[in-house]
């Protein structure tokens, strides 16, 4: 960021750094400008035209997400011209897809719904024209309904610019434009690795986490911040809990390091074990060829006894330890200490490969 410059937004004198966009400085100063295609940490697209503001006295409209501030600039965020433009954009989007909130998983957490409510539009002036895409339901993680897609491109930018999987792009053109993996394949038949970042980025109900569908409305969901248990990176994420059950994992860019709102497919979708009926809840000891439930005291006693007798009979190097990448560094440290100091062997390894 460069020099300090001053400008006026809605009559208020504001100081900004050169290089900042109008949207950024407005946000910093608590001035609300609605957006749709804007997505933090990606290149501004200026595509939805919802964030347009009026600049100067000539009445020129510019997208605030990609217009840099300049000294002495006079910006107005809610003139009649601006509101007319926003209303038309909102109505064009409304009429171009299946934006029926009654049957939408994103009801209550949808940026298009918020925009239309904010603008107070009761119905679009244009006739609704459904694109008629088939809903993609061919994988167990992400449901794609392009009839709800507003082509903001956020999923594409997150896939290409942040995750750099380069699976998604726009294909076709004009009103036939669609977001697609190569050759318009379903996700499951594409190079997609199911990191789920596109779903987090989607402002509407076009991309939804399949396992969370009908498992709780946004306002019924409690978000619990936690650290992903799958490896030692320590990715921050939100468990979305409804009715005492984890139904999906979302992220929050504001959590910052280490993952800045991104996850891999394990952290994102690997949660079925939590309530799985096969999940071990007590230790099991194999006796007479059969696994039998035991208490922790019994289990530890059994282990200690066996280790002691093996060590005595065949020496400490007859024992080896393998720890897990899912443990923390501290736990792994303790484990190697235990193997070296208590068992007395250097046979210690770690599955740093997930």
């Amino acid at each position: 960021m460069g020099n300090k410059i001053s400008l006026t937004i809605d009559g208020k004198k504001i100081e900004a750094s050169s290089g900042q966009t109008i949207l950024e400085i407005a946000k910093e100063n608590g001035i609300h400008i609605p957006t749709l295609c804007y997505y933090p940490n990606t290149k501004p697209a200026g595509a939805c035209r919802v964030c347009v503001v009026e600049i100067g006295t000539a009445g020129k409209l510019e997208a605030s997400c990609c217009t840099p501030v300049s000294p002495g600039m006079v910006v107005q965020t809610n003139t009649e011209k601006v509101m007319n433009a926003r209303r038309m954009v909102a109505e064009l989007l409304w009429s171009s897809g299946n934006h029926n909130c009654l049957q939408c998983e994103k009801n209550g957490d949808c940026e298009l719904q918020d925009l239309i409510y904010e603008l107070g539009i009761e119905k679009p002036r244009f006739e609704i024209d459904l694109p008629g895409y088939e809903i993609e339901d061919t994988n167990s993680m992400i449901q794609r309904d392009l009839n709800k897609c507003i082509l903001c491109g956020r999923c594409i930018r997150v896939c290409n610019e942040i995750q750099v999987h380069e699976v998604l792009d726009f294909s076709m053109r004009g009103s036939h434009t669609k977001v697609s993996p190569a050759f318009d394949a379903d996700y499951i038949d594409s190079e997609c690795v199911f990191c789920g970042a596109c779903v987090d980025a989607c402002p509407v109900g076009a991309l939804t986490f399949k396992q969370a569908r009908f498992k709780g409305r946004p306002w019924e969901m409690k978000k619990v911040r936690t650290t992903c248990p799958y490896c030692g990176v320590g990715c921050q994420m939100d468990l979305n809990v409804s009715d005492g059950k984890v139904v999906k994992v979302t992220t929050n860019m504001d959590y910052g390091k280490p993952n800045h709102g991104m996850l891999c497919s394990k952290g994102r979708f690997g949660m079925n074990f939590i309530d799985n009926s096969d999940r071990l809840k007590t230790p099991l000891i194999r006796m007479d060829g059969e696994l039998k439930a035991a208490s922790w005291e019994e289990a530890y006693g059994y282990i200690a006894e066996k280790f002691a007798s093996i060590k005595e009979k065949d020496g400490p190097d007859s024992i080896a330890g393998l720890s897990s990448a899912r443990c923390t560094n501290e736990e792994n440290y303790l484990f190697q200490k235990f193997m070296r100091a208590v068992i007395g062997t250097n046979n210690i390894d770690h599955c740093a490969r997930l």
Binding site: P44, A45, G46, A47, C48, R49, V50, V52, K60, L61, A63, C66, T67, P68, N84, A85, M88, V89, L92, L93, S95, S96, R125, F126, E127, D129, I150, L151, G153, E166, V167, L168, D169, F170, S171, M172, R173, G174, S175, H176, T177, S180, P181, A182, F183, D184, E191
Partner: protein, 573 residues
Amino acid sequence: MNEETEERVSELANLYPSRKSALMPALEIAQRKNNNFLSNEDIKEVAKIVGVPNSRAFGVTTYYTMYNTKPVGKYHLQVDTNIPGFLSGAYEIVEHLKKKLGIEVGGTTGDGLFTLSSVEDLGSCGTCPVVQVNDTYYENLTIEKVDELVESLKSGKMPEPDTFSNFGTECNILLKNRGISDATDITVYKKGGGYEALKKTFKMQPSEIVDMVKGSMIRGRGGAGFPAGVKWGFLPKDNSRPVYLICNADEGEPGTFKDRQIMQYDPHLMIEGIAISAYAIGAEKAFIYIRGEFRWIADILENAIRQAKKDGQLNHVDIVVHRGAGSYVCGEETALIESIEGKRGNPRVKPPFPANVGLYGSPTIVNNVETLSCVPFIVEKGVQEFKKIGTEGNFGPKLYGVSGHVNKPGVYEYPLGTSLKVILETAGGVKGNLKAVIVGGLSVPILKADEIGDLKMDYDSCAKAGTMLGSGGIMVINDTMSIPELALRTINFYAHECCGQCVPGREGSKTIKVLLGKLTSGEGTIENIDTILDTCDTIKGLTLCPTGDAFAMPIEAMVAKFRGEFEDLVKRG
């Protein structure tokens, strides 16, 4: 694909600073190798060779209309049905071909011989109707000629095309060699004083040339009319990045077929203009972005560049011809830049402007063919001579393309500010009773016959008359034409060509298309008419690129000025 193809692609890639720019040329090679068809396997292979993700290669392939992702017949008959074609019987030819071949538009005959397509403006407005068969343009067609063409193709023979077209020049600058045979040859060009201006250039400082272009006040001939010298002046000082010059030869504005007169008949004039301009702005690499349909013209240009190189004219600049692949929007300078970079032709958000951050992130100047072709005259004869032509603030010669309902459609060179009436008389006069004229390519507001008066064809006079000079593509409409039908065909074009990035462009063009469709089929309401006007008004100045204005302005004018015709459609029901 084989090693030879890979080698060829690598050779092409070497022409560009980035290998990714070879994506479009590589797709073209792959398509030619596979009977004019790109399979998914072909696209995958190309993506691998060029080094781009499959998703990007697929996105690019499906953006441009010249890539066929479905197999086509041995002869792909592409009828230009855009406005000039529409005005001169192209739809009759489509209907005739449908019956004759027994297929619908988009269909292929059972024997795999013919595919029939209706395509957008081919840049043959003065020689309509035109059918492009594979790479070859068949112009000046009639039903009888179409029959002969099809019979010949059935016997496996591509007939020699009729290349006749009308032209005339009062200035003898841009079309001075138009009537001379073999002017494409450098020796002929030089005999007429060609490359003398370049010789003079080398004796001057680059800044002196820039000053001359600034002094001439030449305004960009592509359509916007922005002074070219001022544009050059936007290049950053103390810049360490390479500077690029791009010649915009993507002539695709319906009604416009002027640049091809220079490129096809006097290519060295343009090349000399590029060579001088590149020297002036310090560009060591220049690109000519030519629309893909002008394949044979691109060959003419490449040949002329080879000759000029051999003749030692281009030691200071390397000129690369980059072929488009079917996209109107690529005529917009940032979309054009994206296209050279091997991407979808989506216009960029501005700022930054190309003069600062353009091709490959470097300072870039994009000028139209006609603009650059004026530069040799300015340098050779001087600013004062140039400013003797035209009117105050609108200096120099201008190519006017006249099409539609006139007796001698063609390209005529006159000083800027020449009366429209004079130009129309030269074009053989109006056929029938004049109803309206579109004076600057399809993107400008239509003028009713009674609004024309003594309109002078220059930037300022046209603006005063409530329209724009644009590209100087004049489309003449007589009273046999229904304006609602014209409006529908107009919006169909823009909806087809819209890149799809921004909401008002994408959904706005589609929505107006639906509303005009309802009106013309007798299912519209008065409210629909007002909705169109209101939507057009809001779209102006709102879209990411100028395409929004390019359809909102003409549609608004057609509906507002001929509202009675639209209301009649509602009343008739």
